[in-house]
């Protein structure tokens, strides 16, 4: 750990306790109530190849009109063709949507009333060797839940990672509470950990929120090293956690899995089906009812949002406000997203907007920014860009929201200059977009930080 990162950790029985100070919590209005809403169920579901970063040569395995079961492979990457991308639900392929230059955008499925699963056969972990287990998972549809560091791409089943990391809490704005969303999934999570343990040469790390008692769904899991992280966002980001547990060095490979993915893997192991059902959080200030809803990966969000709006001009986001993606009212939930957020659209001019005192949320305290006086307030934030892009001027701010021994501004400048050596030496292997998402939020000069991070990763990845 870096001498200058303001974290102190202590080892107790191998597991680590890490207290982070740097970061910033964005408290928004529209937190999901801990109950399952009775929204009309989503009818259509989609797999969006664009959700899988690094998916280079997508090939669709089905045609419009085909019927599929949940778990039927519908897409592969010709560059990594043992990994199947499977239908989340059973039903009929209604559209294979392509964009410019026939770029594959969406494969959408109209779901059956009752979901029929491909029977893939339960897995006896002990009886399979590592490679056979990896191949089994890769063919089943659950594999894309396993993400490789560096680069944040879908893992290659033939690699053996040095360790596997699971962050058991999400500190993003309005993020779902895993204790609620994954209730009752204990045995699947346990089976998932056992499967992952077989895939790595090192350990499986389960990183829980150290600021509160570990929820029962995670408390009794065995076979993983349990580490406690506490502090403001991004304490829940798995990249930050890796940095403090077993940082990524050049040439190394680690994997990460979200608890949602872990449960899916466990269900495949125990029951032999690809079950893409999940409880997602429907959040945001513009919703009349913000709550959880049970649906499937890639759900069309319209039934959760339409008729549930308290204003007209909104932005629907798949994911959270820091790392999510703007989708339409009829859009689909992203593969890796476990929440939708609905905020006001911010396309308005504001007279002397840069000088007026404002209670809008800011990490800063410059003249007229008053939000620091109300640290516990929940804010309504819209999508306004808040000023124009400029060269870097202010210093020290990115560092103060990045609880890692990384110099974000130097790294970003190296990426802009396409200086490969610098990009590597300054720590590109340790981050993906979400780890510097707060920098993009707090940036006085409004740089597209996450876009730059991806550009830097691709420069190194494909060099």
């Amino acid at each position: 750990m870096g001498r200058f990162s303001k974290a102190h950790s202590s080892k107790t029985d191998m597991s680590k306790i890490v207290k982070l100070k740097k970061g910033f919590d964005i408290n928004l209005v529209g937190k999901a109530k801990q109950e399952l809403a009775d929204f009309a169920p989503a009818q259509t579901f989609a797999i969006k190849p664009t959700d899988f970063i690094g998916l280079q040569r997508p090939k669709v395995l089905v045609n419009e009109g085909d019927t599929v079961k949940a778990g039927t492979p519908i897409l592969i990457d010709k560059a990594l063709d043992q990994v199947m991308y499977a239908a989340p639900v059973s039903g009929k392929i209604v559209e294979v949507k392509r964009g410019d230059r026939r770029k594959l955008l969406e494969i959408s499925i109209l779901a059956d009333a009752t979901i029929d699963h491909e029977q893939l056969g339960a897995v006896n972990i002990a009886s399979l060797d590592r490679d056979a287990l990896a191949a089994k998972l890769a063919a089943s549809g659950v594999w894309p839940n396993i993400i490789q560091r560096p680069y944040g791409i879908v893992a290659n089943p033939t690699d053996t990672p040095k360790s596997i990391f699971i962050s058991a809490f999400d500190t993003h704005p309005l993020a779902p509470d895993y204790a609620f969303a994954l209730q009752g999934q204990e045995k699947y999570l346990q089976a998932g950990i056992e499967a992952l343990a077989k895939l790595t040469s090192g350990k499986v790390h389960l990183n829980v929120d150290g600021s509160k008692p570990t929820p029962s769904v995670f408390a009794d899991l065995k076979g993983a090293q349990v580490n406690k992280f506490s502090g403001p966002h991004p304490a829940g980001n798995v990249g930050v956690q890796i940095h403090h547990l077993d940082p990524m060095n050049k040439g190394e490979i680690a994997w990460t899995v979200s608890p949602y993915g872990l449960a899916q893997i466990g269900k495949l192991i125990l029951e032999g089906v690809y079950d893409a059902s999940k409880i997602i959080a429907v959040t945001g200030s513009e919703l009349t009812k913000a709550a959880y809803v049970k649906t499937y990966m890639g759900a069309s969000v319209s039934t959760f949002v339409k008729g549930n709006l308290n204003s007209g001009h909104v932005r629907v986001i798949s994911g959270n406000v820091l790392t999510g993606e703007k989708i339409s009212l009829e859009g689909f939930l992203g593969f890796y997203h476990n929440q939708i957020t609905v905020i006001p659209e911010g396309d308005y001019y504001e007279f002397m907007g840069w000088a007026k005192p404002t209670t809008r949320l800011s990490y800063h305290r410059a003249l007229g920014l008053l939000s620091f006086l109300t640290p516990n307030k929940e804010f309504v934030m819209d999508s306004n860009g808040r000023g124009e892009e400029r060269a870097f001027v202010q210093t020290g701010v990115f560092e103060s929201v990045t609880p890692m021994d990384i110099l974000p501004v130097y790294l970003l400048k190296a990426i802009m200059a396409e200086d490969f050596d610098e990009i590597e030496e300054l720590g590109i292997y340790e981050i993906v977009e979400e780890d510097l998402a707060l920098c993009e939020f707090v940036d006085v000069s409004k740089h597209p930080v996450q876009e730059l991070v991806r550009k830097g990763i691709e420069l190194i990845q494909y060099s």
Binding site: E325, D347, W354, H364, G396, L407, Y410, F441, V444, E451
Partner: protein, 405 residues
């Protein structure tokens, strides 16, 4: 404000691509975004919401932090004028007249600096096709505060143009410059027109009046320097007995601290600089590390000088360095310019400390430059990237060592 918005919307197509005045787009844009914060929204991917701050707000915070120095400087300009010409005795007597005289002298300098610099900014923005930089809001205020009220306006304009072009625009504008723009302007004046910005005659505005008998226009720095050369009395005694024609105690510590002394417009008052520092640190706009280590560096070097005490200047109690000349103003407003300062957190400590130390070294040991802060800041501006280089290198090394262990 709707009519304004409508007016802008009506004119906008003229300046956009394909419009008649396309080449003036960035000038239009600057005006438009000054009046209305833009309506563009965040992209499809990435952060969907943004922090309420922008560069304009940050810059204006610095300008606000300078207002105490500006107001004090205006009043003090008038005060020094009346004091030197025998027009007043008390601090608050002839209040209106002093403020009027000060404003009459200072405001034109401010206007000229803004106009000259703004013009250069606009021309470069149009020719180089980049947005007009907000950085000039700060530079335009800094330059007037570091020149004497007697500076000819054409020199102010020339120095501003020189500094904005040579110190900033040739590097690509705000954010790309190596040197602090305002300090460059002052250095330009210092070396190009020394008669108007150094010596004993320029710091107090006399106008067409005769000074009182026994008046001396020497600054505290040159009084102390001469005490060091003479060696007949201690530096503190020399300060206390200086210019008694204007009343006793002109250069006593408290008076130096508050700033009722001759000097450049905004830099005489350590107190007001500290008020500015409070605003800058409270708002988080300037680095407290640079400010703190800057003052600490000056004190430490003053103390080291005391240890040698070869002459009276070297024996000067270190705290006097804080209140004489432009040290406080320079550290608070110039050294903290984030673009030309060190940009790493460790680097900021070193950078500030060295500015403070260098200032005192130049003051005490160099006969050519009674004031050291200007050169110290510029010197450290040049060295800041080197400091950062080593801090960044240490970061890389930690990463590399981790990999090989």
């Amino acid at each position: 404000m709707k009519f304004l918005r409508d007016l802008l919307d009506k004119q906008k197509p003229l300046f956009e691509k394909g419009g008649k005045l396309e080449s003036l787009y960035y000038a239009f844009e600057a005006g438009e975004t000054f009046m209305f914060s833009p309506k563009h929204t965040t992209g499809i991917k990435g952060a969907q919401v943004k922090d309420a701050i922008d560069l304009k707000r940050m810059m204006i915070t610095v300008v606000i932090a300078m207002i105490p120095c500006l107001l004090f400087g205006m009043y003090n300009t008038g005060h020094q004028h009346l004091l030197a010409t025998g027009g007043t005795a008390g601090l608050w007597e002839n209040f209106g007249e002093k403020l009027g005289t000060g404003a009459f002298l200072v405001l034109p300098i401010v206007l000229v600096a803004y106009a000259a610099g703004g013009m250069v900014e606009a021309i470069f923005a149009i020719v180089r096709k980049h947005p007009i930089n907000e950085g000039f809001l700060v530079t335009g205020m800094l330059i007037p505060l570091v020149v004497p009220a007697t500076t000819p306006l054409w020199q102010v304009a020339l120095a501003t143009v020189f500094a904005v072009v040579i110190a900033k625009e040739v590097f690509g504008g705000t954010g790309m410059n190596v040197l602090n723009v305002a300090m460059t302007a002052r250095a330009f004046l210092y070396f190009a027109y020394p008669a108007q910005i150094s010596g004993d005659q320029v710091w107090t505005y006399l106008g067409d009046k005769m000074p009182v008998d026994g008046f001396s226009g020497a600054t505290a720095l040159s009084v102390v320097y001469n005490a060091g050369v003479d060696g007949t009395q201690s530096a503190v005694e020399a300060l206390a007995s200086h210019n008694t024609a204007l009343g006793s105690g002109l250069y006593e510590f408290t008076n130096l601290f508050i700033g009722w002394i001759p000097g450049s417009i905004g830099e005489t008052s350590t107190l007001m600089a500290l008020v500015g520092a409070l605003i800058l640190i409270g708002t988080g706009v300037a680095s407290w590390k640079i400010i703190f280590s800057g003052f600490a560096g000056a004190y430490i070097m003053g103390f080291v000088m005391n240890l040698f005490s070869v002459n009276e200047y070297m024996s000067l109690p270190p705290q006097y360095h804080w209140v004489m000349g432009g040290l406080a103003f320079g550290i608070v407003f110039m050294a903290t310019d984030p673009v030309s300062a060190a940009q790493t957190e460790v680097g900021k400590w070193i950078y500030g400390l060295l500015i403070g130390m260098l200032t005192v070294i130049i003051r005490v040991t160099n006969p050519a430059y009674p004031e050291g802060i200007m050169l110290a800041v510029l010197f450290m501006n040049v060295f800041a990237p080197l400091i950062d280089y080593y801090v960044v290198k240490a970061n890389k090394t930690r990463r590399l060592q981790r990999a090989t262990v």
